[in-house]
Amino acid sequence: MTNLQSILNKQNTLSDNKFFKLLGVSPFGVAVFIILALSPLFIDDQYVMHLLISSLMFGALAIGFDFTVGFINIVNFGYAAFMGVGAYTSALLVSRLDLSPVLAMLAGSILAAILGFLIGLLTLRLRGMFAAIMAWFFGITLMSLAANMVDLTRGHLGLNVPILFPGAGRDAYFYLILGITAVTYIVLRKIINSHIGLAFRAIGQNIEAARSSGVDSTKYRVFNFTVSCFFAGLIGGFYAFFVGVLTPAVMHTRVTVEILVLCYIGGRGSLWGGLLAAFLVIPIFEYLRPLMEIRLIIYGLLMILVMIYYPGGLAAVYAQLVDLIRDMLGMKSKSVTG
């Protein structure tokens, strides 16, 4: 018991350390990152590497999704389409204009961010639910464009994307997505921990009170969409090079829904919840791949059960566990997730 207490205390003092504060990641998070970074040294199985990459990719997408739904409380139902915009843009820039992949991915994210800015403006006057529906319409439209601009995207035939690291194994992709995930998490976490994050939460929890406390809801809503879509575009760029073939299906509502489910199982408003959920859910589902429908049935059921019985998701379980342990050790409760 006392052992546990000292660990918890240590974690607390460590968390207050300048370095971790600056990084915006807890010591535990850094430890996980280091373990992940070292894992290719021990894992030979390419299939396992593939699973890790998929988990990181969907986890990163879920982080970006949660940045909107978990804080300003609007479901960006067209999220996958913004990811697709990033994917198509970077793929096309590399294959048509021979741009360097790094620049191309950056360009893709910027275009996604611009579109995110637009959808932010477009949904400004709408309440949560209707903003979600509008974002959905927007996403469907983007997908239709991708499917119909056949000259550019080859539509449903699929666009072949040049290989990013010719000759290299999966490890290279792994480190790239690990980097992207880390950057996504740290940047979004830094924003959330700043005043801007406070404003987001204020808007998400009580828009009227936020306005009358001086929060410019317009500005922050649009900013949130822009940033979230930027990262969706960035991860989309990675997706393009990783998968190698792009079809409009990547922008489908189904993909948004998958990310949404991860995010909710993980617990909205935690950022890391979706990432954790991805690591738990994606490998199981990959394993069940031959039983495609069954895994999605589980997905649907999980979503229904989480919504009814555990709307806080894994993050709430974690918070309760921490509280429980602290209670057992007679420490003062520190959790703020409620």
Binding site: N73, V75, L122, R125, L126, R127, G128, M129, F130, A132, I133, M134, W136, F137, F138, I140, T141, M143, S144, L145, A147, N148, I207, T253, V257, L260, V261, Y264, M292, E293, I294, L296, I297, Y299, G300, L301, L302, M303, I304, V306, M307, I308, Y309, P311
Partner: protein, 299 residues
């Protein structure tokens, strides 16, 4: 554009629109009475199509009976789902009901779609026709009887639905709940019953839409998404809880779609539709029939 082409577009648009009207009515009923933005509405459309398909191919029923079977199936599926999932959510949900129930319907949509896929597979299950042949509805425009019958069935359902809502005690109690929940409870209306009935009726309307068009759109697991999208479109366009508004809105969407299909080719309708809705919302943020949209838009 030639005059006959315009006629073609209008007819095609009206016929398509009939389907959107049915779907949108169910959606708007469920939202208006229960405050659930139903994302699984398309799955009831899908269920309806399957029910009709099996009634036709396995039981060999006549077309009208097939559609009635589909309606019954949708109704029963809807009531079971309401009594299990939504009742449980209603008991436990604290605040933010609209968003939580919406996400529940997202889960429901995934579940139903993949249950269908797991049990029935991904192949199209369609019939060549309910009724053979075609008829001339205008001197030089002919349509297949099935398409026309689908339209007639849709309109008859709308009319019956309207009469039910306005002329029966139960229908009145549903309208009462959507008008004022407290008032409804105070006159002795049992909310649980109305909620179950409402959800079941919404599902029934969607199922009829799916069944009526079986010969044109064969049944397959993911067929519900497009009609769902269109019915949301209608609802955003005209606002909630307005039967005649929904009818007009459904036709408008049908015609806009037929028009863009004719002029721009398949696939571009979505782009045109989005442009239309952005323009309308920019000009009149509460939808074309304005004021009846209560509590939907931010100040």
């Amino acid at each position: 554009m030639e005059l006959s082409a315009i006629g073609d577009i209008l007819v095609a648009g009206l016929l398509r629109g009939g389907l959107f009207v049915l779907m949108a009515l169910g959606l708007s009923l469920i939202f208006g009475v229960m405050n659930i933005p139903n994302f699984a509405h398309g799955e009831f459309y899908m269920l309806g199509a399957y029910f009709a398909y099996f009634s036709r191919t396995l039981l060999g029923l006549n077309p009208v009976l097939c559609i009635i079977m589909a309606a019954l199936g949708g109704f029963i599926a809807g009531s079971i789902i309401e009594m299990t999932a939504f009742k449980a959510l209603r008991k436990r949900s604290k605040g933010n009901w609209v968003m939580n129930s919406f996400l529940l319907t997202v889960g429901l949509s995934i579940l139903l779609q993949n249950l269908a896929q797991a049990t029935l597979g991904v192949r199209f299950m369609g019939i060549s026709h309910y009724w053979q042949g075609s008829i001339n509805i205008l001197p030089n425009i002919s349509v297949s009887i099935d398409r026309f019958a689908g339209f007639v069935i849709a309109m008859a359902t709308v009319a019956l639905f309207y009469l039910f809502l306005h002329k029966t005690k139960t229908g009145n109690s549903i309208r009462a709940v959507s008008e004022d929940e407290d008032g409804a409870m105070l006159v002795g209306i049992k909310m649980n019953k109305v909620h179950t009935l409402t959800f079941a009726l919404g599902a029934l309307l969607a199922a009829i839409a799916g069944a009526a068009l079986l010969s044109i759109n064969p049944a397959y697991p993911t067929m519900g998404l497009a009609p769902l999208y269109k019915s949301w479109f209608v609802v955003i366009l005209v606002g909630m809880g307005n039967v005649w508004g929904t009818v007009i809105g459904g036709f408008i969407v049908g015609i806009v779609e037929a028009f863009s299909y004719y002029n721009l080719g398949a696939g571009w309708q979505d782009v045109v539709s989005l442009m239309v809705i952005i323009t309308i919302l920019a000009l009149k943020p509460s939808g074309i029939f304005g004021k009846s949209v209560r509590g939907v838009w931010d100040r």
